[in-house]
Amino acid sequence: MSPLLFTVLLFFLSAAGGFLGSLAGIGGGIIVVPALTLLFGVDIHLAIGASIVCVIATSTAAAAAYVREGMTNVRVGMFLEMGTVTGALIGATLGGILNPGLLFILFGAIVGYSALMMLKQVGKGIGSSVAAENRISKWLNLNGSYYDQAVGKEIPYKVAHPLIGGVLMIFAGMVSALLGIGSGSLKVPVMDIAMKLPIKVSSATSNFMIGVTAAASSMIYFARGDINPFLAAPTAVGITLGALIGTRVMTRMHSRSLRILFVFLFFFIGIQMIWKGFGTL
């Protein structure tokens, strides 16, 4: 295969991934790393470097759209970013030292976990419990409201346990930096379950934070030389274009059958990654 053909293939594959991912509500990283390592045999450290750049691109595109719709709780996002960015610093520093086999196994486990989370979401409807007034949330003015299109009115909500949320976000940031993924599947449950934010606000705010988290780890990967322009350029451009087309085609309608398809794909990828991990340990 010539390098040019490789670039073209990578571009179209990333565009397809970005397109389907945006329809199913999935970010780029979880598709890019397995595609580069399993299909093209790229070194996992370089795959993670290319992927973290894609994560910035897709989350920036999504965040720009959500933030204008007023779905994002910007204040909660910025408060929690203190945790995710701290985690990203730890994760990116560790990432360069860890054994590739271990990275494959960790990645496989996280992909499997994401599949389980998606399966749960496909099964149940959106249920949000109401939080009691929290002193810190009140002090920082974190409580907010959002416009629910289904009901047709502004729905106010309170934010529970901001400090617990912040500490849990350190872990989410670490996983994101270590594996080159947005780790929305870790951030959303923290906000949804622990902090009792409405699910739509949780996913919009998660997207808002992912860009900053990924920027912190990218700088370390960039300086370390783990971001190969030859790999990062076609994937970042492809995934951004794919995601932009995806959001135009179907605004925030996360197709159910597509999500089920991704659940199966993720289980398959998870097993493949873990298998490869044990092979290279």
Binding site: S2, I56, M78, G211, A215, A216, P229, A233
Partner: protein, 132 residues
């Protein structure tokens, strides 16, 4: 609370615009780099040379001097690296702008919070370049 809603709007609209502008400009620069690569690098069409491009440590431009010199000479990889760097800076700029919006709104607590996030981002930039 009407006044509060308006304040939030300023923040959200500005941040939305910043993010979109950063994304569009950085992706354009990367695309320009890709075009340069296709035009100026005939070795990209040679079969069998792929391993040279995707080998670990083989093809990353690091160090700002290398990138700046490459930009002047219209080197494809330098332009692509610039675009990637602009993409990385986009969320960082977003944090910086929020700091000034909170300042303008007199929100001291959130000025502190955004300043902490911005400092952590700068630490990662410094940490990244000193690890080398």
């Amino acid at each position: 609370m009407k006044d509060g809603d308006k304040r939030l709007e300023l923040l959200e609209i500005t941040l939305g615009r910043t993010l979109r502008a950063g994304l569009i400009s950085s992706i354009s620069v990367i695309l320009f780099g890709i075009v340069l690569a296709i035009v100026n690098h005939p070795e990209l069409r040679e079969a069998g040379s792929l391993h040279k491009f995707i080998a670990p440590g083989g093809y990353a431009l690091t160090g700002f001097h290398g990138i700046v010199d490459g930009l002047k000479e219209f080197k494809a990889m330098a332009w692509i690296s610039l675009g990637i760097f602009m993409l990385i800076l986009t969320p960082t700029v977003r944090v910086g702008i929020s700091f000034f919006i909170f300042w303008y709104q007199g929100d001291k607590k959130f000025m502190v919070i955004t300043a902490i996030v911005f400092t952590l981002l700068m630490v990662s930039l410094v940490l990244g370049s000193t690890v080398l």
